[in-house]
Structure formats: structure tokens, C-alpha cells
Amino acid sequence: MSCYLIGNARPEGGDPADLLVTDGTVTAVGAPGSLQVPEDAEVIDASGLIALPGLVDMHTHLREPGREDAETVQTGTRAAARGGFTAVFAMANSNPVADTAGVVEQVWQLGRDAGWTDVHPVGAVTVGLEGTRLSEIRAMAESRAAVRMFSDDGKCVHDPVLMRRALEYVKAFDGIIAQHAQEPRLTEGAQMNEGAVSADLGLTGWPAVAEEAIIARDVLLAQHVGSRLHICHLSTEGSVEIVRWAKSRGVYVTAEVTPHHLMLTDELVRTFDPVYKVNPPLRTDADVQALRRAVAEGTIDVVGTDHAPHTAEDKECEWSCAAHGMTGLETALSVVQLSLVDTGLIGWDRVAQIMSHRPAGILGLTDQGQPLRPGSVANLVLWDPAGATPVDPATHASKGRNSPYRGMTLPGSVRATFYRGHPVVRDGELATPLGR
């Protein structure tokens, strides 16, 4: 039997309370000092800390199988735990691609064996992410991994007929298609956001319309066939307007934004440092402000990290041959605090929504994203909003060193992460994984 008393924490930023965690479940919540505490309970002083439900990342690249030099399920979930996540969704662009029941079960099992967070594989929509025929979606749904989200992330399902069929097909088991919205012809050779900075730098532009045109098409398709659509990593003001319009028409569309698109702009590309090369590209300050407002007003449903670790070889090279992507699991909550909370746009209750309740709800997870009350599975993170996180990628649990925040000091810090009642992070450091 394990028992922890988390004393004097502020659940979702509310009034201080004590939480009793017994054998993986929240068993009691009450005013500080009011709970009956078993003698063998370990007491954790959480004064000044905010308790959030364990974070759920709808968008992670764990790179295994295939690119274990960049990340593994083990290192990626350690990074997730350090960032306060208790569940991650592993995107399908591994090698081999996660387009069969065999691959998704492998990733799912690796996650269970690692024991740092839940790992939910995402299935590929099309075989090999090639955009030509549907992968065996139902087999993945019925596998032990019980896949519900399908995405060709990294590539766009650009064929409108194939997209329509995918949206329809997953209705059989309440699945959801997560679209990486990028019109391929409009982005051939694209290197960065198309605008004033790309004009100066002579890098091939990646127009906002390439994202917005696909989103506009897909919300109409989703409405036509009555299916659920999730838009990965919105990055433009125009995308926000289309999603807002679609929601007002009753389309079941959900939208995600990454932490980096809430903070960084394409002005950083002037350094030509490939750490800032990412897909979708960093956009303008007007886009950043629009994305922040969209989270506050609810047009954007979730924050997903798009954690994309890469080896040094894939980043220490010329801009045009560097890989797209940046790490994000270990800095996500800090960036959310900086861009949304410290700016007064949202409170911690909304942070709990966008980073835990809502992603768990979209994916139908019953044991994640639950409110911090008796009976809930004890997935939670203790966050010090007055703390500071100096970003030194060399100290990250992720194998990726490609953090765009390196050298910065970001606000807040994870003090502890409880995964199914077990402290996988304590005192801000990785502790032990959950044994099963």
C-alpha cells in the first residue's frame, strides 16, 4: 500500500487544500489539516504549489522504432514526466511507420514497460504516410493499443477523397482524424513563413494559405460526413478564424496549438539557426497574438507540444538541409505560463482544461484528465508558478538538444509528477518509474 498526503496545494490554482493519494487513487480532498491521514502516509509539502491534473500531450514524436538515436520511448517519456505529463500520444511517423497493429502494439508495450507515463500510439491514416491508400485503421483500433487517433502528421492527407473516406471510416469506433494541414504544392521547397522576413532572407516562403486552405476544406468535409476532425498545430490567424467559423456552424472540430507558436516568431529565423526551423513554421507576432486570444476564447481546445527531438547531425547544418522540429515536453508548461497565464489571458483552471481535461476528453481517456477529487486516478503535477526553469538542453531527459529556449530562463517549474499515484518526479528531478 502506498499513501501520500499532498499538503496545502492549490488545485487548479484555487484555494489551498490537502490531497490524499492512496494506492494510485485520489481518496480525499479537503481544507488544509482537515483530512484524516494514515500514520504511514508520506507527507509532501506543496505550499505555494499549484496542483494540476496530469498533463496529456496529444502530439509527441518519440522516434521509436527507427530513430532511436534521436529519442526512444524511454527517454521521451522521461522527458514527458519531467514536464508534468502523465500521458502522451506518439505520432506515427516512425520507421517503420505506425500503420499496422504490430507497430502500434510495440510502441504501446514499450510505454508500459518504461513506466513513466501512459503512451498512446497514433495510427497512420495512410500506408507509409504516402497519402495513397488507407492503412489498416480498424486493426489498430482493435489492437491492445486501442488506437483512436489517426494522423499522417508530418505530412498532410491532401487527397480530398482519401480524407473524406478516412473521416467516415473512423466513425465505426468513434475515432478521430488529426490533420497536419499543409497543402503540398503551395509549400514545395518551403523553408519558413512567407512574409517580410522570408522576403529579406531569400528563403522559400511557406504561405499561411497553404495551412488555411486545407483546414477550410477539411471542416467542410467533416461537416458533410458528420465526423470528428482534429487540427494539429494551428499556426496562423486565418486558421483561427476558419475554426471559429466552423465551430459556430456546429462542425465537430477541435484545434491544437503548440507552445512555440504561442511565443516565438519568424524574426528568429534571421539568425539562420536551424533550431528555429519547424513545421509549421514560426509565424508573425500578429499570428502569435491571435493564437493566444484563440486559446483564451476557446476556439483552440488544446496545447500539444509537437515535441520533435532531432540528432545534432540533423540540426547542425545549413538551414535548408536541417530537419524540421524542436523539443517541447520539458518546457511546455513554462511557455504556457509565460504566454497565457502571466499575460493575464487565462487562469490555471483553463490551463488544466487545455493541457489535461480537454485532450483526455477528445481522445476518450477515462483514466486521464480527471478532476482532482476523490475517486479520480491520481495523475497530477505539482507546479511552482514562482519558480524558474533555466533551459539547458544538456540537462534534459530528452535525447533532443534542439530546444529553441536554450539559454533562456522560463517561468515556473515542475516540482513533482504523480503517475497513477506514483511519484515519477520528485523535487523537480526524475525519481522512479511505475512498476507494474
Binding site: 517580410a196 529579406d200 522559400t204 539562420f272 538551414w319 535548408s320 538541409c321
Partner: protein
Amino acid sequence: MKHLLSTSELSHADAVQILDTADQMAAVSSRAVKKLPALRGRTVVNLFFEDSTRTRISFETAAKRLSADVINFSAKGSSVSKGESLKDTAQTLMAMSADAVVIRHPSSGAPQQLADSGWIDAAVVNAGDGKHAHPTQALLDAMTLRRVRSRATGVASTGMDLEGMHVVIVGDVLHSRVARSNVWLLTTLGARVTLVAPPTLVPVATDNWPCEVSYDLDAVLSEAPDAVMMLRLQRERMNAAFFPSEAEYTRGWGLTAQRVQRLEAVGAPTVFMHPGPMNRGLEISSEAADSPRSTVLEQVANGVSVRMAVLFLLLSGDESSPNPSEN
């Protein structure tokens, strides 16, 4: 100035100093013994990831006239095609104690990465990177324009800028590092710059650029500008639907015989510039290329002088005169 990466970072004073130095270098090149001892014992590496015989031999000539040792390192395709990385190449050059690296690269930003990386100690000279910048080309164009003005006014070029000159740059601005570098340098020196191109070959957001943009070459030429600079058109652009046909491009945006005749008829002062190599009959007619108004060969000669000036100023590390009279 430790490196020369782009013209947008050059101040008016920097630019005039480089041009004044280049004028002094030009005097050296016109002598029987075309050599200065200024960079004796220094090593200049021409690191070319992209073929460009003209630019390479121009830099090579410049370095040799300053008595530097020159190493030509042709690395075409090696980095971009995932062979040796830029980092390893740079560190190899550092191990050979290069004092300056002249880099031509198909990827925008590679020279800046080299300069900022800490991989290398040497001065970095951008000899053209992707579609980004080609600062020595812009400097040789500015030197040419200054000499044009000097001849027209009878005033010595030393200390002169381009205040009030009207320069028209015509063609594929979207893909042109020459146009980008000239927009910044020529306007820093006081010139008025007008870009003329079909709308498909202009970047979508040039609002911050200190120049005008027009789609109508005849309207702009009717203002009798001081110079019209024709950009080289890559023939493969036609396949990407930037314009319907070469003939239509030439009719709309080529410096045709008819346009030359119209300028002659009104007695315009306009000189014809081209960075080379020219596509005769496409962006420039033979009538224009071979006209007395053409500065194409003068540009080539000025290229050596400007590159001598840049290498001298970067490697001599102070603002002293090269003092060619004391050879």
C-alpha cells in the same frame, strides 16, 4: 568589420570606405605590376559549394593581387547532399589556419552560420548564399555607378555616394540575391531604387524594402533613369509557371532593341548593367549588351577591385590606406 555577410549591415560610412579603397585598388590593377604586398603570408580560402567560375576567379585574382596565398576548395554538393558537414569543412579550414574564407553556398544563411558558429576564427566573406545576399556584387555595382556619376559630373569619385541617382533593377527579384543586396546598399548610398518584374517574380511582402516596385518596365524607363540593371533569368523558372513563355517575358521585361532605341531617342543618360552571365535575347538584347551604354565589362573589372578592398579591410584589421604608391 569582422565579416562581410550582407549589405543590410553596412553603414553609409562603411560602404563609402570600401568603395574608396576599391578605387585605390583599381589603380593597382591598371599598372604593369599588378601586385601589392599587403596580405603576404595570409591565406584566403575560396570555399565554393556551388559552381561559379566568374566569382571564384574574381576573388582569386583579388587575393593574389594582394599577395595572399589562395586555396580553392570546391565542395559542390558535398554538404547539402549529406556528405561532409559544413561544420567539418569549416573546422578543416581552421586547422589549415585560413585567415579568410570566401564562401559561396546554395543555402541562404550558410555564411552567417559559419561566422556565428564558433567553428571558425577566420573572416567570412559571403560570395553569394542561396537567394539571400551577394554583397560584393552589390559593391561592384555601386562602384560602377559611382564611376558613371564621376564621369558624368567630372567630379572625382573619392568620398562620393549615389545620392539622387535612380537605379532600376529588372527581372527575377524573387530568386535574386543580387537584387536583395543592391536594394539595401544602393539605398544606403542615397540612390532611389525601383524594382521591375512580373508580379510572380516579386516577393509577397516587400513593404519594408526601401524601394518602389513596378510591373511596367516602359513606364519606369520613360523616367530616363540613370541605370537599368537586368537580372539573369534562370530558364527553369518558366517550368514553374512564373511566366507563360520566354517570348512573353522578353516583350514585357526584356531590355529589347526597341527599348534601347526609345531611350536613345529621348537622350536618356541610362547605362545598362548586368551581373552576368547574360542570356542574350532573353532578358537583354545584343543591342543593349553591346551598346556603349553597357557597363558589363567595367563591372567585371570593378569586381576585382571591390574584392581586393574587402579582403584588405577585413584582413589588415585597421582603417589605414593600402598606400599603393609605396609598393
